[in-house]
Point group: C2
Chain length 443, copies 2
């Protein structure tokens, strides 16, 4: 019983598999045949409905076209019912069985030598010709706070002698966020305005945020839901996870400081949140599970947040990068510059613990709900997942390679999140880009 | 320009109007012909789709049946397109013009002497035969904190020398809540479990909440939305309000105390929230507007939260009641007992101010979004809208008329919220009941 609730490995994970879509076979492709992430797309600039697709190399398999062409077995074809207009909720609700069936069918149809190559080849669209949307109706978005190094560093800025709240190592802290302003990679938004009040100001003023920041997070999409009043136990928790995306939880630090007491962040967060378009399924992530062990001396989780499976394989080895591309860099034709690298292995709470905690009071999760991991900063200062941390609260500006400096984000800055999993004996898989850009404040 | 953005009075407000539905004409009816609130209903216990309806006396006008019978003018009939399966979002999105057209058509068709009586009479269902649902897909639920007497009394329990946070009189404090667990009157839910930690406990424990409470609120449904990045100005704010319901924001105080730092309430709130089934439209509320004046010595709102219209008529005179019905009272055949009475006139921030603040950073509101007012307590201690306040944090138990005592809610307790508007020269209108009941914790 090493993997009681986690996705087992099968033929789809075989590192020796290659695809007849040749761009999927290069070693640095985010989307080899072992990944097969799902999203919704349409021809860029068209007025078509968004429709479900799977990324392979530099192409997209149009799932409705593949279904119409008879490439998908009947039991797989039926799982896409209800997704025809670009909302995956109905597919997500069917849980692991439907995901595995689709994954296995595509792994067979896309591999080198498949008899379906000729037909399926007519169902591809280059990613370069596509645009994306948020892949489902997100009923509720919950943002957790599982990055203990982030929580500690940010806590130190406000409370040098007690950086971590007394509840942090007991409660997977979370709060509800805004769904309406969640956008997909490519999202651009005006710098938010809001009330701020400096320590020496007599009264607050309304102005564009001067401490606009990004937050490097992973997002977990919920697959099958639970009924109101019926908690999800740890042993079953991952049955309710569909897959992961990258998530940039943009934050206006100056707005947050003035508004957040006593009920938490509000306008400082809800002006925009950006996710990557491709959901990397729990099955694709199966080879990259890791033991999840509390640091020596830390309390063990309460029983409702603990399980053998979680201790043995609750962790997930996802390497994360943040890059910046300023207007000056674009003008000079310079590539985006890396700001930090960290790993999801350093999170203090796992996907299963977030799901079990969220529902222990009877709260119901629904297919397509999104859980944010909280900012994923590593243990070293240069591994921080936000400018707030990298610049010590704006005190120490970063100098970029082209000579520009940054404390917080400037108009025109684009932030790009990337993520990938790499482990000996398996093919590297990636998440694609999560890109968002700050525009000038309106009027 | 006395009422630049508020609903004008018209023939539908005439107090002398009576309906051929006789139960609408009794002086204490919540639903006279001057009210005409909208909701969704179906025959109780049936498997029909929920469908839109309007309350009149003890009856419901089935709007789809009325449309099919030709009672609604063509320009009104078309506004219901997209609402056939019991989600009013498409109607809500059309804003005031559609609401006024429906209201005027029904006012004419339901009045004494209407030539449409015979046909429309076949489109009625008794409320006693109906069941209700949440009337739309709620994309996001935001809970504000506009009850200054609540904020002060609760603040005193934690910070005797600084009960109100420094931001309270400047910022309409709000935070995001949970939509999935919002239910309609009649909702019953198991007592939530969660982590709690007393001041003398070494470690937290998981157990059923021992400080379960209600909160008396009004809910504002959003009508037409705004685009991401485009704030709503005060002068236009009420164009985006559809109407009001009663809202019980159930709260587990012991869970809240341990979890809420630093990101706000989460599991202490998201296990259930209950609304009344009938949305009382902004047009029905037009006669009950009131001046909105800051107390002497308080700061004036920042310009983005201020307008002539808001000062002249931003207030709303809604009288609110909380009643309790315990299991023992039901067993003895006793009527529910009133716990408190207060008025929405005592709120510190108006509907328009909530809408303008929520969007000043560019956050987009969507048709069907729900804004909670926060707990509406009056200035006197007996006017408090929660047990936390009425019992001074559980220190002083209430004694009920039948001899029972309460600090917080017991299993089997039902809480009933009621609301009504009454002003000389106009017909009294009401909100109907918002009832919810606490069940025993599971397992």
């Amino acid at each position: 019983m090493m993997r009681p609730t986690l996705a087992p490995l099968d033929f789809t994970h075989d590192a020796s598999l290659n695809s007849w879509v040749e761009s999927a076979n290069t070693p640095d492709s985010d989307f080899p045949i072992q990944n097969l992430p799902i999203g919704v797309f349409r021809r860029a600039g068209s007025l078509e409905f968004f429709r479900p697709g799977v990324a392979i190399g530099e192409q997209i398999v149009d799932l409705l076209a593949a279904r119409a062409a008879g490439v998908l077995p009947a039991d797989v074809a039926v799982t896409l019912n209800g997704c025809e207009r670009g909302e995956l909720n109905a597919f997500m609700a069917q849980g692991r069985v439907a995901r595995v069936a689709l994954r296995q069918a595509l792994s067979q149809a896309l591999r080198e030598g498949s008899s379906q190559q000729t037909v399926l080849n007519t169902c591809l669209m280059p990613q370069a010709s596509a645009e994306y949307a948020v892949p489902c109706r997100i009923g509720d978005y919950t943002d957790f706070y599982t990055g203990i190094h982030h929580a500690t560093t940010v806590g130190k800025l406000f409370r040098p002698d007690q950086p971590l709240m007394p509840n942090y190592k007991w409660v997977p802290i979370g709060y509800h966020g805004r769904t309406s302003s969640i956008g997909v990679s490519g999202q651009a938004f005006p710098r938010p305005k809001g009330q701020t009040k400096g320590p020496n100001d007599e009264v607050p003023v309304l102005r564009p945020s001067q401490r606009l920041d990004y937050e490097l997070e992973l997002g977990v999409f919920v697959g099958q839901g639970n009924a109101l009043g019926e908690p999800i136990a740890m042993d079953q928790a991952e049955d309710h996870a569909f897959g992961l995306v990258l998530l940039n939880d943009w934050s206006a630090r100056d707005l947050q400081a003035w508004e957040y007491q006593p009920l938490g962040p509000f306008l400082s967060k809800n002006f925009a949140s950006t996710i990557s378009p491709w959901i990397v399924t729990m099955e694709a992530l199966a080879p990259f599970r890791a033991p999840f062990v509390r640091p020596e001396g830390d309390p063990q989780p309460l029983p409702y947040l603990d399980s053998d499976g979680n201790r043995l394989q609750g962790g997930l080895d996802v390497e994360l990068d943040v890059l910046i591309e300023t207007q000056a860099m674009r003008d000079a034709g310079l590539a985006p510059q890396c700001l930090s690298q960290s790993s999801y292995r350093d999170a203090y709470w796992t996907v299963a613990q977030m799901l079990a905690h969220h529902t222990v009071n009877g709260c119901n999760l629904q297919p397509g709900d999104l859980l944010g991991s909280g900012t994923q900063s590593g243990p070293r200062p240069e591994q921080a997942g936000s400018l707030l941390e990298l610049t010590s609260g704006g005190k120490n500006a970063l100098t970029l390679a082209n000579g520009e400096t940054r404390t917080f984000l400037q108009d025109g800055d684009a932030i790009i999140l990337r993520g990938h999993c790499d482990r000996s004996g398996f093919r590297r898989i990636g998440f694609g880009d999560c890109r968002g850009q700050v525009l000038a404040a309106r009027g």
